[in-house]
Symmetry: C2
């Protein structure tokens, strides 16, 4: 039984007759192939990546497992449509808190069409991408049964300043995410979610080491998804903190050069998260 | 006695009635203050940096010592002109080999004037800056008494492809730098100049560690100068391998964010040099 995922924080969303991703109970996430070449480009990436023996296992775990393509009834009611069948790392969780950070101060690649470059450059300058090296594309943070999720709308998130971004990264690991600006986020889950040997910071640093070396792919307009389960922590269990790279419609060949654009942005995200861990220790 | 330095590989050069840097026998390098605000901007950086207690000594050594300003007879014969008095780390050496790498895939800063941004973006796209994260701005490599220096002209260097850049970094540490493209550069000084505990790679990695943390300055259009003395190696002495950051006319405040643009490009340079050390070990 296909349904619209409720955990999605960025990208095209299904519902209201729109084409968007679907999930089922098998733990798969079905992403409709975007037209204008992006869909086929992302499919080509997953096909190439999933069989590339140069990718070490400890890095492969940061990418969704790819199960091929499926023709499914599209969410916009237009009939059968090709979808990428991917591992769904979020839907199986209980009230997952999710943050999507689009990495890189530049979301366009050198060989892109001129009008695409102009469009991206404008957005990179209008958001934090250019100055901060990444931008938050969306987030939802679980509070509790009464408050539910804090989920600022898309327009609000795209207007985030650097200080807003810093605050969002603090709220993401706070027990009081949705409170007014008067009360400081408590960062009470920072040490559990960001910190520790299996925390998000450790995973980001592992990814960073790979990006210092790998010259296979350059990831433009690609996001790091950060996920964890607050209730799991409160019940004394593992936070389930996990990062995944998503959105590969603009991945190009590295041709022997490191992805300095992604690496720089990743280091900036690491610095901000590291500052939060340090200040709440 | 002021004279025109002969080791300069990039930037405005004195001689033929043009305004450019001068040296004397005191070990000072006099850089005329550029007009249109760049000179005063660079002066402000040196003034601020030289008294900033947040800069650790092991990082300060990568910057030229600043001795204030001097009014000197300009090299273009126009009379007294203000110059920055800086440590001259190159002229005192014997036949120094020098390479100037302008770091960052983006040489413009967000707040710059629109026409300046367009000009820089164009040059970043025409050179290797955008794809490689840095571009070689100039180099001269000592061969021997007969051949002298291999010093490709400015136009040639600005047209370097990524492969040309890789080759130049190999030639920089070769005993046969100026040979035709048929013969491979031997990289016979790679382990001495790039490698080792005091080599250029170790220094670049030390600088990188600082850039992963520091949020004080963002260095746009700034270069890493790499210097060593071949004859010193041949005589069994220290290579004198040293890196220095130069050109601070476009440094802006970091405001709590790391310089991901410089860091990304620095990591790309490190990867290329690291590849050379590994392959010639």
């Amino acid at each position: 039984m296909l349904k619209v995922p409720d955990h999605q924080v960025a990208g095209h969303q299904a519902g209201d007759g729109k084409l968007g991703p679907l999930i089922d109970d098998s733990g798969h996430f079905y992403k409709p192939l975007q037209n204008d070449g992006r869909g086929s480009h992302e499919l080509a990436f997953y096909t190439s990546f999933s069989t590339d023996t140069r990718i070490p296992d400890h890095i492969r775990k940061f990418f969704p497992v790819f199960y091929g393509t499926r023709h499914l009834e599209a969410s916009d009611g237009s009939g059968l449509y090709p979808h990428l069948a991917l591992e769904d790392t979020v839907s199986s969780r209980i009230n997952p808190s999710v943050l999507d950070a689009k990495i890189g101060s530049r979301t366009w690649y050198p060989q892109a069409a001129e009008d695409y470059i102009i469009k991206c450059l404008k957005k990179d300058r209008e958001t934090t991408s250019l100055e901060l090296g990444f931008r938050v594309s969306g987030l939802r943070v679980y509070g509790n049964k009464e408050t539910g999720f804090w989920k600022p709308d898309k327009k609000c998130v795209l207007n985030f300043s650097i200080e807003d971004t810093r605050l969002a990264l603090r709220k993401f690991v706070s027990s009081n995410p949705s409170t007014d600006s008067g009360i400081k986020p408590d960062c009470s889950f920072a040490s559990t979610v960001y910190g520790g040997p299996a925390g998000i910071l450790a995973q980001l640093l592992e990814l960073k080491s790979w990006f210092e070396e790998q010259t296979i792919f350059h990831f433009y307009s690609c996001s790091v998804l950060m996920v964890y389960e607050k209730e799991s922590i409160l019940q004394g269990r593992n936070s389930g903190a996990e990062i995944k790279l998503v959105d590969f419609a603009h991945v190009i060949e590295g041709k022997g050069v490191i992805d300095h654009n992604f690496l720089g942005g990743l280091c900036s995200l690491i610095k901000l998260i590291s500052d939060i861990v340090t200040s709440s220790a």
